[in-house]
């Protein structure tokens, strides 16, 4: 019988809180997904894992920006996330580059996103301008 995704996610999330070697954990999960023929579930499964960890005080934020972040910006983002999740015991900041952001940054959480990019500002500006001309 197929184990429900939420149950698998919970088991993985618990493991991530105790396991120290991500490579070992990754191999175990990969083997499970292959034998159970559930590779296609990987993305949704990982989102569930993030959500579970978030509920248990481990918040992971992916910061997307066009350029490298300075230490100040990183701690500012961590503070922002901490304000958003006062119960968070640990905030993990992960940095990725995306030239499409143009300037500023985007912060992605498990099921939320905070868009502070220049692109978003420009889009808002464009929308407001177009609405004004109608």
């Amino acid at each position: 019988m197929k184990v429900p995704r939420a149950q698998v996610a919970e088991a993985i999330a618990k493991k991530t809180l105790t396991e120290h070697d991500p490579a070992v954990l990754a191999r175990e999960i990969a083997a499970y997904l292959l034998t159970e023929n559930r590779v296609q579930d990987l993305d949704s499964l990982m989102r569930d894992v993030m959500a579970y960890r978030q509920e248990h005080g481990v918040v992971e934020a992916t910061v997307m920006s066009a350029h490298d972040l300075t230490a100040d910006v990183k701690s500012e983002v961590a503070g922002l996330v901490q304000d958003h999740y006062p119960a968070a015991k640990m905030v993990i900041i992960r940095e990725t580059h995306d030239p499409e952001v143009i300037g500023g940054l985007k912060v992605k959480l498990a099921n939320e996103q905070l868009d502070l990019s220049v692109r978003a500002r420009l889009d808002t500006f464009k929308r407001l301008t177009l609405e004004g001309t109608k």
Partner: protein, 518 residues
């Protein structure tokens, strides 16, 4: 203490690990197709193949064609191809899948027309079934069963009164071609809808003409029955392997309902063609031919199939799967190989007679040769109370009618028996697609056994019956609904029915009969 594992990084690690694991060579059981033809592939090198195990054969275009192993030899195995055998060439690679054949099961199939592998044939898109079940499963054991005790009404008075069928029973419908075998099956399906029994119908067409199947589906749709029906269709043009699989796959679909506290009715139309498809496969697999060239296990072919129809015990949910297998005879010969086999497996048979059919007695059920071995316990009390002497009356009538052909001068008692018999025969005639409710059967049989129709001219019997039913439905709706629950009505209701029947019948009695009475 939580570790600082990033889930995003972990996702990427998993993706890399999956790619790496996929690249690792697997030890596979691989064989080579040595010969292929007539839907059979002979494969060398698959020594570990299991009986009925699925084999993936790669065709000349790189596509996979499935086959299943049936002959397991030391040197090579014989596998039946479930697809186009012309695409497979000698030298093709064959891999053991480690699976046995499974089909989708579940409520998602209801209302659909599928092939024996559960693939849709009705153009309504994919079947989003969550569950699958093995095509070949063992039948429930003794302790998991309960004796048949609930009625499965066909709506055909002749059957429900004289050869009643119970839920979980296997009742064979046997007769020559064009004698109304499928018509009985269709009427039974329609009755499940009209009486709102909640029974799921499963119709399996084995090697039938597709025009016949299309006509049947059209009719079921028109009657609103398709909403509680699954049709598994194979045509005469389909490979023998698919025709062979059809009843097993359909039974797997029916078992879902049986095992989930529901009731299902399965109609195998027909098992003669199924046996012929299996004979073809067996001869091509070079199994030794036996009587009529059928292989030695042709009895087991049908016994293991029909044993899966059962009434489950209360502990197992009390669901049921009732089977109505159909067998076509040649010139009324029920002592041929396949008919005798299936007669001995089933719990009774409804024998259709060509002579009766052409005499206009439809349904053309032979009272003498038809029997239900377990259905008596499942008959509703109402119908049982009026059907006791029916079989005997009709049997005596048939004998006397034959005898009276040689004699002109008959005594009053004999003449009375013949007249009663003629009227009973007339009353048991029933047009297609018009199944009766319990109360209708009860009223007709009660009036007939009380002699109401004895003085009514033969050509007016059906009109009298129709008037009686109409008036009762109109004036005594509540009382009739009470009979429909199956309980035997009280004396007051009986008297009311008989009085009204006598009153209506009196208006049809001819002047001659009236003067005779005086």
């Amino acid at each position: 203490m939580a570790t600082e594992i990033s889930i995003k990084d972990l996702s990427e690690d998993i993706r890399a690990a999956i790619a790496q694991l996929k690249q690792q060579p697997e030890i596979e059981n691989v064989g080579i197709v040595t010969r292929v033809g007539d839907g059979i592939a002979w494969i060398y090198g698959l020594a570990k193949a299991g009986y009925s195990e699925m084999i993936d054969i790669t065709d000349q275009h790189g596509e996979t064609i499935t086959a299943f192993a049936l002959n397991l030899g030391q040197e090579e195995i014989g596998a039946v191809i479930l697809g186009d055998d012309t695409q497979i060439k000698a030298g093709a690679t064959a891999k053991l899948s480690g699976r046995v054949l499974e089909v989708p099961v579940g409520p998602e199939l209801v209302g659909r027309v599928v092939d024996p592998l559960g693939r849709p044939l009705d153009g309504k898109g994919a079947i989003k079934s969550k569950l699958t079940s093995r095509v070949e499963r063992t039948a429930p054991g003794v302790l998991d069963r309960k004796s048949v005790h609930e009625p499965l009404m066909t709506g055909i008075t002749a059957i429900d009164s004289m050869v009643p069928i119970g839920r979980g029973q296997r009742e064979l419908i046997i007769g020559d071609r064009q004698t109304g075998k499928t018509a009985i099956a269709i009427d039974t399906m329609i009755n499940q809808h009209r009486q709102d029994t909640g029974v799921i119908n499963i119709y399996v067409a084995i090697g039938q003409k597709l025009s016949k199947v299309a006509r049947l589906i059209e009719r079921l749709k028109r009657e609103g029955v398709m909403e509680q029906t699954i049709v598994i269709a194979t045509s005469a043009a389909d490979p023998a392997s698919l025709q062979y699989l059809a009843p097993y796959a359909a039974t797997a679909m029916g078992e879902y309902f049986r095992d989930n506290k529901q009731h299902a009715l399965i109609i195998y139309d027909d098992l003669t063609k199924h046996a012929a498809a299996y004979r073809q496969m067996s001869l091509l697999l070079r199994r030794p031919p036996g009587r009529e060239a059928y292989p030695g296990d042709v009895f087991y072919l049908h016994s293991r199939l029909l044993e899966r129809s059962a009434k489950l015990s209360d502990e197992k949910g009390a669901g049921s799967l009732t089977a109505l297998p159909i067998i076509e005879t040649q010139a009324g010969d029920i002592s041929a190989y396949i008919p005798t086999n299936v007669i001995s497996i089933t719990d009774g048979q409804i024998f259709m007679e060509t002579n009766l059919f052409y005499q206009g007695i439809r349904p053309a059920i032979s009272v003498g040769l038809s029997v239900s071995r377990v259905g008596g316990n499942a008959q509703t009390k109402a119908v049982k109370s009026v059907a006791k002497s029916l079989r005997l009356d009709l049997a005596q009538f048939r004998e006397l009618a034959a005898f009276s052909q040689f004699s002109t001068d008959l005594d009053a008692e004999t003449r009375q028996r013949i007249e009663r018999g003629q009227r009973l025969t007339e009353l048991l005639k029933q047009p297609q697609y018009s199944p009766y409710s319990i109360w209708q059967m009860y009223v007709v049989l009660l009036a007939a056994t009380e002699g109401t129709f004895d003085k009514v001219p033969l050509d007016k019997v059906k009109t009298t019956e129709a008037n009686l039913l109409r008036e009762l439905k109109h004036d005594q709706g509540k009382a009739m609904d009470a009979i429909n629950t199956g309980a035997e009505p009280d004396e007051k209701t009986k008297k009311l029915i008989v009085d009204l029947a006598n009153k209506i019948a009196a208006s049809y009695v001819t002047v001659d009969e009236k003067s005779k009475e005086k």
